[in-house]
Symmetry: D2
Subunit: 94 residues, 4 copies
């Protein structure tokens, strides 16, 4: 079971996660890559980390933009420590 | 300039495009792949074709599902022969 | 520690692994995909499985061909049950 | 037809291509990425550029290393301006 985070905890975590926002019970960020191919390569790179963490995003892509949305479905669609952890991982690999 | 298609023409084209639907001025299909990794590999495979055609989708992914939405922005967001062409290409490569 | 396989055990395993060969202390197979983009998508797909298994190939690619070579470095570069396991996984996902 | 380059021309081009070497009638470079997933994402990123240029490498990968080897087969396996051009493109996208 992943620890569910309260609003204050989420806001504290977001201080170290530039560009991430708390939106409808999820952590969300839109990334701008170099062109469409940069976006696809980014999806692959992030995909490996998500598989490793066994925590998968709602992902959307238009041309050079990729939006990742993480929420914890197993806890009923709320933000947990798992969402913060994967956001941190993604920031680290960029 | 890509030829804009009328409703009847779109419906005729969809007969040979199983699973594709005409929705809000776009051609849309949701694909179910083998797991998350199958979905990511599919995004790569489709991505190559889209780059070749210079026609990019609005793409969304959750776990093993990938939804592709094609519309022709340069014609103001309507369905053109280019949307039909890329849908046919994607069906052929699967 | 992965169980090192003797020649007879490797040959027995290869009976269920069409196209795989035992070559210089490794299991090797060359795959023919649909074009270069099919090859790249295959590398991604296989890559996810290899990460999951924490067992990585020596991989080579020319256009639509991808050769995978698995050996177990931690045992001194010999064929172990881990090489057979990843070969089986790859056959299953194709 | 791609312009075949003489030894002096290749050496001149390599001055602006750090890490690339002239080896057995090809331009070759080994890239070190962040882990295996960084390597796979790099293969995807480079793959898009190679498709765009219609010039494909001999590629090999072990864990976080990717070696690209470009030669012009249509000219009999020699270095041409096309090999220099794709090497420059790859350096630019990194």
């Amino acid at each position: 079971m992943a620890k569910v985070l309260e609003k204050g905890q989420i806001e504290a975590a977001l201080k170290d996660l530039p560009g991430w926002r708390h939106e409808e019970d999820a952590l969300v960020k839109t990334f701008k890559l170099k062109g469409f191919s940069g976006a696809v390569a980014f999806i692959v790179r992030v995909g490996f980390e998500c598989q490793k963490a066994n925590h998968h995003p709602e992902l959307s892509n238009i041309y050079n933009k990729v939006t990742l949305r993480f929420t914890t479905h197993s806890e009923g669609g709320v933000v947990t420590e798992n969402d913060v952890a994967i956001a941190r991982t993604i920031e680290r690999i960029l």
